[in-house]
Amino acid sequence: MSNLSVPNAKTTPENPHLLPGTLPKGIHNPNHRDDSNAAQVALIETLSKTKTANCYKCGKCTAGCPVSEHMEIGPSQIIRLLQLGNVDKALRSSSIWQCVSCLTCSSRCPKEVDCAAIMDALREVSLLQDKVNPQAQQIVTFQRAFLDNIRRNGRLNELDLIARFKSTVALRTREFSFLFKDASLAPQLRRLKKLHLSQPRSKDLSVVDRIFARCTEIEK
């Protein structure tokens, strides 16, 4: 069992060398065969249709990623974690949620590893296994609200989305100022005729609901 992520370990009589609040690197021991890790990696590879073994860690993805300078773990390191079998650390990272899906990584990879698809797969599994990084809650809330909106309306109802997104975040974080952020844009949006108080829904909403049901069922 590789014990790479030991969050918030405290100093105890057993491990007097640890500094409180640090995330120690740990020791990676490949002699320990961990089938659950292998299964996790296989899941990510199946979802992303790409082989992590092909990556030779050149770092071109990290170098080209527009947001990598803000990430704790860059894309090439995420893939390295998968190569080491430490899927958990990847699933719990904030990096996968900072990714903007610009596809620069996959387009430039000399080994044709689909890094962007791996990010998608990690996001999906992270949500399924309830390992979402606390820093990414706002982003996840938005995406979930978006999908919910589509399920109900077939097409995006912007006001509905904004309202639900902002209220969910505000309620969770108790920062009610969030509700009014960007509110100053509202009059301008109104003037420019970009604010739609009502929007037509698409027809055949039952189909949409069934499609969603099938896709969520298959997941489980």
Binding site: G59, C61, R108, P110, E112
Partner: protein, 667 residues
């Protein structure tokens, strides 16, 4: 054949442990047509061979079967033994009762029985063996070397020094190849031209080297020992006999803005030019597409006016000359992968992210060599191409186009790690307050003194190495920004660069595929010429008499190219050592009486060994068309035998009749 001798070898324990060799010999002796059958511990040993020779004489044997190991091991040995006692060596057969019997079976009874069957088959075969004669081919004791780079020069000198005439063909106006354009070479930092030009002069002055510069091989006919070469001498517009190389012409030419090929467009040259001062031959050429006089018929004529020797000839034409040679060495060298444009073969081509071709200060490694070379366009003073400013931060990027499955080539170009380290040192030696940055994936420095050389670049000359690739080069605030990664520290690295040097992939020189087609030499999907065997026969090709040396075969550095060149030269010398070469006679023949001249065999033959021929009466009256095998080129693969619809093609030593006899003996 009625007096066949059987010799069963025990091979120590290798055969005898599993096969009852005494019993095998006894049974073999009972076969019809067998005069004697003996068993011995080591048939290939001196006493063993002596036994064979003795029996040939005493039993008056007219054919022998040696039942022992694989023919790959000792067929030659036993044939020699037979020949020593006057028996034709092609009347010797081997039954493999080791690799195909004792080494793959464990049951003694079964193995022994099988050994007897194998010998029975061999006896059936040898009964129909013919007393073949080795084929003797006369050899033209001259060699052709294609390519005048360092490999071609070395091969030419070695062969010429051994006493044979060499025809050296080089398509550029001067020999010297890529090495002539380098600044200094690793790991010694020798001045490249200083070590090469003495060799170049030697070639130019060698009494046995016939140099065709500014020429290309037009056609190749013939076969080993007997090649007929057509060479196209491109029009130089300068009479080589009259010209003294004084330079009045190129110094007066008004067309000065043509990008120089020798400087890889880092500098310009005139329309009539000599590529570099130490060129061999030191005679100019006119680029016919740039000079108005040669292109359109109406020009300034200034060079002719200034020429005191009357050597300019605007009406020059290409000429074709013919040369006969016995051996060919292909040493056509390499070029750099051009990342500024789409490639035919890459999956997804072009490296737009590096901005080569868009940003003037992004150059490749050969261009950098010219900028730091003392004979270069800036006289060795390093200035960046866009504005001539001295670059204080130079970024070197490795593996551009190499090790790339997506766009580029998947192989490693071998020399870039070394020359990049060299570049950082040349840079530092010129610009003392400059900083070199290198982005690398791995360091490949396996040669003698190579790893120490790279460490010197880092530890003594202060080059900064970052382990990671570069993703993009942008222009921001008037500077080139290089965006790369350092995977060891796990961070993105952004460097403001004054100059960026790309180590682009090595690929075979342009046009090598057309040349290979002319020579019938194989090449891989990148154009690298195919060696006969990657480990044991690195300088031979599958075409007899054609050898390969240098970067034309695979990416390599100068010491390896020189070594291969001498190796190829030594193979050539073996070939040219006598006035004839012998070939094994186990080749195909066509029964011309029954041949229908459909030429299916000629189409199928992978070695181009089958010719269209005519059958005529002694008086010359035409009888019929036929296919005819050239026994010198034929490799005895048997493909023609299998496609011939009239069963006219057969293989000597492996005739169809023999194969049927072997099979029938088993039933």
């Amino acid at each position: 054949m009625s007096r066949i001798g059987i010799f069963v070898c025990g091979c120590g324990e290798n055969i005898a442990r599993t096969v009852d060799v005494e019993l095998v010999a006894k049974r073999a002796g009972e076969l019809p047509g067998v005069a004697c059958a003996v068993a011995y511990k080591y048939m290939c040993s001196d006493p063993g061979q002596g036994m064979i020779r003795e029996k040939i004489a005493s039993e008056r044997l007219d054919g022998i079967v040696v039942a022992s190991c694989s023919p790959h091991m000792h067929l030659k040995t036993f044939r020699k033994a037979a020949q020593a006692n006057g028996l034709n060596p092609y009347l010797v057969e081997m039954a493999n009762i080791r690799e195909q019997c004792s080494w793959v079976h464990s049951d003694r009874e079964d193995a022994t029985q099988k050994a007897i069957e194998l010998i029975r088959m061999s006896v059936a075969k040898v009964r129909n063996n013919k007393a073949l004669k080795t084929i003797r081919v006369p050899v033209t004791r001259r060699a052709l070397v294609i390519g005048g780079g360092v490999a071609g020069i070395q091969a030419a000198l070695d062969i010429a020094d051994a006493g044979h005439e060499v025809v050296l063909v080089e398509r550029a106006p001067s020999i010297g190849g890529k090495m002539a354009g380098l600044s200094e070479t690793f790991p010694t930092l020798d001045c490249s031209q200083c070590i090469l030009t003495p060799r170049m002069v030697e070639v130019g002055q060698h009494p046995r080297i016939k140099l065709y510069s500014y020429s290309e091989v037009e056609a190749v006919d013939g076969f080993i020992g007997n090649f007929k070469i057509k060479i196209r001498k491109k029009a130089r517009f300068v009479d080589m006999d009259k010209c003294t190389g004084c330079g009045d012409c190129w110094n007066s030419c008004p067309l000065k803005k043509n990008p120089s090929e020798f400087d890889y467009s880092m500098g310009n040259r005139t329309a009539i030019y000599i590529p570099f001062p130490q060129a061999v031959p030191a005679r100019p050429v006119i680029d016919k597409n740039q000079c108005n006089r040669t292109k359109k018929g109406k020009g300034c004529g200034i060079c002719a006016k200034n020429c005191k020797s009357g050597a300019i000839n605007y009406d020059d034409q290409d000429t074709i000359v013919e040369e006969d040679v016995g051996a060919i060495v292909v040493a056509t060298g390499f070029g750099l992968y051009d990342i500024s444009k789409a490639q035919d073969k890459a999956a997804q081509s072009g490296y737009g992210e590096y901005g080569y071709g868009k940003y003037k200060d992004v150059i490749d490694s050969l261009q950098f060599e010219r900028l730091v070379s003392a004979s270069g366009p800036t006289g060795g003073v390093l200035k960046r191409p866009s504005d001539g400013v001295t670059p204080k931060n130079v970024v070197f990027i490795s593996c551009v186009g190499s090790r790339d499955n997506a766009k580029g080539v998947p192989y490693c170009s071998k020399i870039c790690c070394m020359y990049t380290a060299k570049h950082t040192m040349l840079y530092k030696h010129k610009i003392h307050d400059g900083q070199a940055h290198v982005f690398y994936m791995d360091i490949r420095s396996g040669g003698k003194g190579y790893d120490e050389f790279v460490r010197r670049a880092i530890e003594e000359d202060g080059a900064k190495y970052y382990r990671g690739r570069v993703s993009k080069i942008t222009q921001e605030s008037g500077h080139l920004m290089v965006r790369g990664a350092d995977t060891l520290a796990g961070t993105t690295v952004m460097i403001e660069a004054d100059l960026v040097v790309l180590a682009t992939a090595m690929q075979p020189a342009a046009g090598v595929e057309q040349l290979a087609q002319k020579l019938h030499v194989g090449y891989d999907q990148y154009g690298f010429l195919l060696e006969s065997h990657p480990k044991l026969r690195p300088v031979e090709t599958n075409v007899a008499g054609v050898f390969v040396a240098g970067a034309a075969q695979s990416p390599k550095d100068i010491p390896e190219s020189v070594a291969q060149a001498s190796a190829a030269a030594s193979k050539v010398q073996i070939l040219l050592a006598s006035d004839h070469v012998t070939r094994e006679p186990e080749v195909a023949t066509i029964a011309e009486q029954t041949c229908a001249a459909c030429y299916a065999c000629a189409h199928a033959c992978p070695y181009n060994a089958i010719e269209h021929a005519e059958v005529r009466t002694p008086r010359g009256v035409f009888v019929k068309n036929t296919a005819r095998v050239n026994p010198v080129i034929c490799m005895g693969c048997g493909t023609c035998v299998s496609v011939c619809p009239s069963k006219s093609a057969d293989l000597q030593g492996f005739a169809e009749q023999q194969i049927y006899a072997m099979l029938e003996s088993l039933i």
